[in-house]
């Protein structure tokens, strides 16, 4: 009889601890959203390297919320401490009203510790290190005017800031939402952790989703704002860039930006350090590590922990819907401003610049440049805009880091 009672008690205990009893309806909705993201990442291949870890983090935290639980300390008297831990040795003591208590620590969940890298702003700059090691700034050095297009595409950030303010967000939250328009995941995460950490899940998911949707969002805007003649412009071949220029470029950029905008230094600094590792040609092992192993490890940590911020209670709110709408506006405005400045350059250069390369000014490397190439080839199959679009594209990375520096400086 006692055996059966023990068995029933055990089953009851397991059931009470299980998700069936502890999870709310929001958790199940989030599990459904995670499954949609799995579909988009695996079947549609929308930014799978990040969307898949994000979706898995989201799934895991909604199945087992304690995975993000912070560490804590329980005060126990000597008897309880011995009962629980078998000893009182090695525990710090606190005396309250003449009674000695032992500080027994409870360790946090796995994601609590991994999330420290996001919270302390460590992962985004490390991702930038890898991005820098993979980026060829040659097209930008050959045609520095591309910086204009990289700057123009950042206007969407500040226009969206206004929209967010009028939708009731605080100025810091509005800045974090606006940065979605920079179309740069690590920058968006970096700025959000500093300005509005409570919105991190929604902003990161919106940013990566829109980056994945670049081939769908941008072409209609590009076609709407340009004429057939403008889209068909064939640009002159870029001048060759010497090795010395490529080596000096990252050093000059980091010096200039760190002096003018110190808040952008962690992102731009690591981006340029990664690029210098690659271009110097003497740190091949470090460059390869930054591009591959380190980048992949950080991507896994970043993706899963950012996904884990999207708990049902956090994510399923009106503010998330507002963020998703504002993110789309930010993205569209950024692309439109880039194309409009491209048109301006087309006029000023007497038709030598194809305005389609302007939309690549939103970072989203190299997807945005590929979209410029594809839309250009629709008008003229012999037109190769890819390398021309890579200039504004990598300028956009620097531009969004500069915009992030401005937001952090003004709003923090």
């Amino acid at each position: 009889m006692e055996i059966i009672q023990n068995f029933l008690n055990a089953i009851q205990g397991i059931l009470q601890d299980s998700g069936l009893m502890s999870l709310g309806w929001q958790n199940y909705v989030m599990i459904g959203i995670a499954c949609v993201l799995f579909y988009l990442a695996i079947k549609k291949e929308f930014e799978p390297l990040l969307l898949l870890p994000i979706a898995f983090g989201m799934l895991l935290v909604n199945l087992y919320p304690a995975i993000t639980a912070p560490d804590s300390t329980t005060l126990m008297n000597a008897a309880d401490c011995i009962k629980a831990k078998g000893t009182t040795e090695g525990y710090a003591t606190t005396v309250i009203n003449g009674v000695q208590y032992y500080n027994v620590p409870h360790y946090g969940g796995l994601f609590y510790y991994l999330y420290k890298g996001v919270k302390l702003g460590i992962y985004p700059p490390l991702i930038f290190l890898g991005v820098g090691a993979m980026t060829d700034f040659g097209p930008l050095i050959a045609n520095p005017k591309s910086f204009i297009l990289g700057a123009a595409a950042q206007i969407g950030i500040f226009i969206t800031f206004i929209g967010a303010i009028f939708l009731g967000f605080t100025d810091a939250q509005a800045g974090a939402i606006g940065i979605i328009g920079g179309a740069d995941g690590p920058t968006a995460i970096y700025v959000t952790t500093k300005l509005a950490p409570e919105l991190l899940g929604s902003i990161a998911i919106a940013a990566y989703s829109y980056m994945a949707l670049v081939p769908i969002i941008q072409p209609p805007i590009m076609r709407l704002l340009t004429t057939k003649k403008e889209r068909a412009v064939v640009m002159e071949q870029l001048r060759p860039v010497s090795k010395v220029e490529k080596i000096i470029f990252p050093i000059v950029i980091v010096v200039v930006i760190s002096i003018l905008l110190p808040d952008a230094a962690p992102l731009v600094g690591m981006l340029m350090f990664g690029n210098l590792l690659k271009e110097s040609g003497v740190c091949d092992r470090l460059s390869k590590t930054a591009q591959n192993e380190l980048m992949n490890i950080i991507t896994i940590f970043l993706g899963t922990t950012v996904g884990a911020t999207a708990t049902g209670a956090n994510f399923l709110s009106l503010s998330t819907l507002k963020i998703i709408a504002l993110g789309l506006i930010a993205f569209m405005m950024g692309s439109a401003c880039g194309v409009l400045f491209g048109k301006l350059m087309y006029k000023l250069t007497g038709g030598k610049v194809n305005p389609l390369i302007g939309s690549a000014g939103v970072s989203a490397v190299p997807m945005a440049a590929r979209v410029s190439q594809r839309v250009g080839q629709e008008e003229n199959p012999g037109n190769f805009l890819l390398m021309h679009a890579m200039g504004p594209n990598v300028a956009g990375v620097i531009g969004s880091a500069v915009a992030a520096g401005v937001l952090l400086n003004v709003l923090r």
């Binding site: 303010i165 000096i248 000059v252 590929r370």
Partner: protein, 131 residues
């Protein structure tokens, strides 16, 4: 936050962001342009110095033995200054290979082609085909 405060913060952020981002990036344009000019200039000067030294080392012994022939060579430049002798040699070899040893081939001028060949187009297309 009242309407006036919202308008004020919105306008100031738009203005600040626009001006600073453009100023910094325009400044970078100037810096990178200057860098490009300086390095290209220095490299051109170094190349010219090298060419001049090579020319001197070639012409000096010829002047002592056959001064007349050297003058003829100087009057007939075989290539423009921006095409290196190695490039001319490679192009000549390619042309010679195509026409065969029976044809007499002489390279008169080498010009950069404005349009890509079908092969080059195919190569570029393969490397840049999106999605």
């Amino acid at each position: 936050m009242d309407l006036m405060s919202k308008l004020t913060i919105s306008a100031s952020m738009l203005l600040t962001g626009f001006v600073i981002v453009f100023s910094v990036l325009v400044f970078l344009i100037f810096v990178i342009w200057l860098l490009g000019k300086t390095i290209t200039g220095a490299q051109n000067a170094a190349t010219n110095r090298k060419k001049f030294k090579v020319q001197q080392s070639v012409t000096t012994p010829q002047e002592t033995t056959e001064p007349v022939k050297t003058e003829e060579k100087v009057e007939k430049p075989v290539a423009s200054s921006d095409t290196s002798e190695e490039i001319i040699a490679v192009i000549s070899a390619a042309v010679y290979t195509m026409y065969g040893s029976k044809e007499k081939v002489r390279i008169k001028s080498i010009k950069k082609s404005s349009s890509r060949s079908a092969w080059a187009n195919a190569g570029v297309l393969r490397n840049t085909r999106p999605f």
